[in-house]
């Protein structure tokens, strides 16, 4: 997790426009009950239009028969690998319209990278383990962040300008309203989002020691 986060930060830092002084946005996502919502994605769409990453990479690991992280957010054009850290095989797939793919049974390093070139939600699963669910939000902006356990997402190094700030959660019952935001240089506004989130349904996951595959 920390490694991935580091990677993302690095990527963002590299992506930041060099000349203009940057702003940062802190987003606070709560649910209807005012509880902080983790794993929510907050991203800012520049009024200047979508942008695609160049040679950006990301990884979604399979650890202990779960996708890690549960929720990923990538810029369009990002190549995502699916390294298998388990000793058993996985068969990762997605039938989502944003990106349909299938990585047949493998272990260790994933046989190839999947490039997410269309914005949208990609729901990923494992054909062998029905409970394994993962989400990849593909956005066409480099300014995005994921809420931590406190429901706080930090968007840094955003060049000043006009943005549309959006929030998303894989189990949201409805999309939260987008916020228009004009960022002054060095500005650090805080934006609160209220997102109704359905509870995560626990799917049956057999204990490992009983399943020797």
């Amino acid at each position: 997790m920390s490694r991935l986060a580091l990677t993302l930060i690095l990527a963002l830092a590299l992506a930041a426009p060099g000349g203009a002084p940057a702003a940062s946005v802190q987003a606070q996502v709560r649910d209807a009950a005012r509880k902080p919502v983790a794993d929510a994605v907050v991203y800012a769409m520049p009024a200047t239009g979508p942008s695609e990453a160049r040679s950006a990479r990301a990884a979604i690991e399979q650890i202990d028969r779960e996708f890690v992280p549960y929720v990923s957010v990538v810029q369009t054009g990002t190549a995502v690998s699916f390294p298998n850290r388990d000793t058993i095989l996985h068969h990762v797939y997605s039938f989502s319209p944003a990106r349909t793919f299938e990585i047949k049974l493998y272990t260790g390093k994933s046989p190839g990278e999947i490039v997410f070139d269309k914005p949208g939600v990609v729901n990923i699963g494992c054909n062998i383990h029905d409970w394994m669910v993962g989400y990849v939000l593909v956005v066409s902006t480099p300014y995005f962040a994921k809420t931590n356990a406190d429901g706080i997402a930090q968007l840094r190094d955003i060049p000043s300008g006009t943005y549309e700030l959006r929030a998303w959660h894989p189990r949201q019952s409805a999309a939260a309203d987008a916020r228009s935001l004009v960022l002054e240089p060095f500005a650090t506004p805080t934006v609160a989002f209220a997102v109704d989130v359905l509870p995560r349904k626990a799917r049956y996951k057999p204990p490992l020691d009983r399943l020797k595959y």
């Binding site: 997605s94 039938f95 989502s96 729901n123 029905d130």
Partner: protein, 805 residues
């Protein structure tokens, strides 16, 4: 006996013991068995229904379990199907052709009849049965809603005319991307399977809103299905059991609601045929019925037997009692058993013996005289009746004798009844002994006896029998060592001359007996003139009562001649009844009855008073005539009254007592010797002379006479008048005269009628004589004339006497 015919027929009378026993037991059994049957049938049907209900309930549980399992199986299948990668992949292609084919293909794998794919927004994307539905809303959104919450859902749905079990599961990739509906038709096959597992008839029916019920599947034959539909279209039966009649068969029915909403109801109809379920209970009821019938038959037979064993001996006893009632004591009741009835029979037999002996005793008492052990009057009358009837048939002679003791009352009065009873016993015994066994002797009462001579015959002629009886009584009875003379008077009557029947024969004999008594003849045979005399007597008896007061009685005087002096020295006063119509009546015609009626005392007093008065009158007139008056034994018994009366009368007439002489018959003296003796002594003390009348008829000894204070003996006329014919009579007269003289008594001879008699008496030295030879009794005035007129003749006698002397 009205009950007699009933004993033959056991049920002719329902109140008979046997009928009652049988009816009681049968009624008891019917009651108990009826109650039992009622309870058994009740319980049976209750158990049957409970069993059926349980079967149905159990069936329903099994059914529901099966449905659930089925549903789970279908859901599982659906889940597996929806998770199939290829299936998901195909769904994800969004190519309708591909989707339809994968739906068909995979649907066939789990046996779904219809597969439907719907979007997450409930819009049909593909349908294997009718793809025209594509693009239209899914028909059962509510099921999807459940599936959204539960991950799966199932329900029964009606589509067209078919019923389906619809299972809806999401297509997971791995989040739901669509809904797939798997529909399994609920058809007859499904019903059949359920039937095999539940043992019930299973039908499925549905109803949309208030529309008609629709039958989708059933195990019932197709022909019966409309009836089933009709049966529960009519009634709104809901979930609970009920009976439904289908084609004449009752089905216990239970509705298992599968869907129950106002607009849609789906039910499973679970049924069990009652006949089939009830058949074991029917068998029990049938067995029970036959058992009851058999029991009833056995009971009727058994109770009949028992009743018969009770009633037969009872009937026999009743029969025996009836025989006893009719007087048949001969047969005892057979004692068969030694039970209670047997004991009753034994007691009955003892009772019978008791009755027999008592009846014999009663008969004996009724027909026997207790004192003499002879038959009594009742028996005698009966025997006489019978004898008369027999005699009538056989035209045989028959005779009845009645007799009683003369002056028996005196014995009873003076010696006491015990002596009288002994005398009667002795008389009875003697009479019995002189008769044949075939003759009947009975004591008719008092001292009266009757004899029935069955056959007459010369040797046994009544007269002969009468003589035998008199002879038997001649020997004096000795009672308590004291001899006692007794005489009887016998009356006889013969059948058929003197009477045609018992009553008239007895009356005739009675009349004859009276005649014998009157004439002192010992016995008398009936003569019709007796009746006249008797009649006459009865009239006289009534008239005699007023004769004394009316002065109809007169005294006649018969001269008594002194043979030594040759003149009349005294007269005997004799009473005569000068009856206004009949003229003079002799004392012999009324005096015995005067005695009977107790009237003699009055007559005697009248006679004595009149005689003394006359004697006194003559004395005053210078006629010195002694007066002799007869007195009876009864007069002597009233000694003080008699003596008092005489002394008063003599004083009144100023007549010396020596002028009066009382004549007492020998038999009167013998009747009551003690009282006679005492009276005679008192008379002599008074100076009155006494004379024994009719001497020679009373068997009294001279020694006895000697003790008596008498001065004169009067020889009975029978001896005097018999002297001429029989020398022995003359000897008796002579010896009597001699004996009298030896005892210092004067002797008088009565009934002198001829010269010869007078001569003989004179020769024997007799002192006095009286009789028709000298004069008849005559009134006082005539006697006076006679005295004057016969002085010469009287002296003639005297001269003759003197001359001879």
């Amino acid at each position: 006996m009205s009950a007699a015919p009933e004993t033959r027929k056991p049920f002719a009378n329902l109140s008979s013991l046997r009928a009652r026993i049988v009816i009681f037991f049968v009624a008891l059994l019917v009651l108990v068995q009826g109650l039992g049957a009622f309870l058994v049938i009740q319980a049976n049907s209750q158990i049957a229904r409970q069993t059926i209900d349980q079967q149905l309930e159990q069936g329903e549980r099994v059914f529901r379990q099966l449905l659930k399992q089925n549903q789970a199986r279908l859901e599982q299948g659906a889940g597996i199907l929806s998770a199939d990668f290829a299936f998901r992949q195909a769904i994800a292609t969004n190519d309708i052709g591909t989707i339809l084919s994968v739906l068909r293909n995979h649907g066939a794998r789990v046996g779904a009849d219809v597969m439907t794919l719907a979007s997450l927004e409930n819009v049909v994307r593909a349908d294997t049965l009718d793809n025209a539905r594509a693009g239209k809303p899914f028909a059962y959104p509510e099921i999807i809603n459940i599936a959204r919450a539960e991950g799966k859902a199932s329900s029964v749905v009606v589509r067209g005319t078919s019923l389906y079990q619809l299972v809806v599961v999401p297509v997971l990739a791995p989040d739901p991307i669509a809904w797939v509906g798997l529909a399994f038709e609920v058809n007859d096959g499904v019903a059949k399977e359920l039937q095999q597992l539940t043992g019930l008839d299973v039908s499925f029916a549905s109803r949309m809103g208030t529309g008609n019920w629709q039958l989708h599947a059933s195990t019932l034959p197709v022909s019966l299905r409309p009836a089933l539909l009709a049966a529960f279209s009519g009634s709104e039966i809901e979930g609970v059991r009920d009976e439904i009649e289908i084609a004449g068969e009752d089905y216990e029915t239970r509705l298992a609601s599968l869907e129950s909403r106002p607009d849609k109801r789906v039910v499973a109809v679970l049924q069990k045929q009652l006949k089939e379920s009830l058949s074991p209970f029917r068998r029990i009821s049938t067995s029970f019925f036959w058992l009851t019938l058999a029991g009833l038959a056995f009971l009727v037979a058994g109770s009949l037997l028992i009743a018969r064993s009770i009633t037969r001996p009872v009937h026999r006893l009743a029969e025996a009692a009836r025989r006893v009632q009719q007087g048949d004591y001969a047969r005892h009741v057979d004692v068969e058993h030694h039970d209670e009835i047997g004991q009753l029979a034994v007691s009955f037999n003892h009772m019978l013996d008791g009755i027999v002996s008592r009846e014999r005793e009663i008969l004996r008492l009724a027909y026997e005289d207790g004192l003499t052990a002879l038959p009594n009057r009742a028996m005698f009358n009966e025997q006489l009746d019978q004898a008369v009837r027999t005699a009538k048939r056989a035209s045989a002679p028959l005779a009845v004798l009645l007799f009683d003791m003369d002056r028996f009352k005196t014995i009873n009065d003076t010696l006491g009844h015990p002596v009288g009873d002994q005398a009667l016993r002795e008389v009875a015994s003697r009479v019995r002994h002189v008769l044949r066994d075939s003759d009947i002797v009975a004591r008719l009462g008092g001292d009266e006896f009757g004899v029935l001579l069955a056959t007459g015959g010369a040797e046994h002629a009544p007269k002969v029998v009468a003589q035998k009886i008199l002879k038997a009584l001649e020997t004096p009875l000795v009672i308590d060592g004291q001899p006692m003379d007794i005489t009887a008077s016998i009356g006889m009557a013969r059948f058929p001359e003197h009477g045609e029947d018992a009553a008239s024969l007895l009356r005739a004999a009675d009349v004859a007996m009276y005649e014998a008594k009157r004439t002192k003849s010992g016995y008398s045979i009936y003569d019709p003139t007796h009746d006249e005399r008797r009649q006459e007597f009865l009239t006289l008896l009534g008239e005699l009562r007023r004769a004394v007061e009316a002065g109809e009685l007169v005294l006649h005087y018969q001269p008594k001649m002194s043979l030594g002096e040759g003149r009349m020295t005294s007269v005997e006063a004799l009473v005569r009844w000068s009856h206004p119509q009949r003229g003079f009546i002799e004392p012999s015609a009324f005096s015995p009855f005067a005695e009977h009626t107790g009237y003699s005392g009055e007559i005697t007093r009248w006679v004595l008073a009149r005689a003394i008065e006359q004697c006194g009158a003559w004395e005053k007139a210078g006629l010195h005539i002694r007066m002799c008056v007869n007195v009876s034994a009864r007069d002597l018994q009233q000694e003080d009254a008699l003596v008092q009366f005489l002394s008063t009368a003599l004083q009144a007439a100023k007549l010396p007592a020596g002028m009066l002489s009382l004549e007492i018959t020998e038999s009167a003296l013998m009747e009551d010797p003690r009282s006679a003796q005492s009276t005679l002594r008192k008379l002599r003390e008074l100076g009155i002379a006494t004379s024994i009348d009719d001497y020679g008829t009373g068997y009294s000894s001279l020694a006895y006479i000697k003790q008596l204070a008498v001065s004169e003996l009067k020889i009975d006329r029978a001896f005097v008048s018999g002297m001429e014919a029989d020398r022995s009579n003359a000897a008796i007269v002579r010896s009597t005269i001699e004996l009298g003289h030896n005892l210092g008594l004067t002797v008088v001879a009565e009934g002198v009628e001829t010269d010869h008699e007078l001569a003989e008496l004179r020769r024997f030295g007799c002192d006095f004589a009286q009789g028709f030879y000298f004069a008849r009794p005559m009134p006082a005035d005539e006697l006076e004339k006679w005295l004057g007129a016969s002085r010469d003749k009287a002296f003639g006698i005297a001269a003759e006497a003197r001359g001879e002397a």
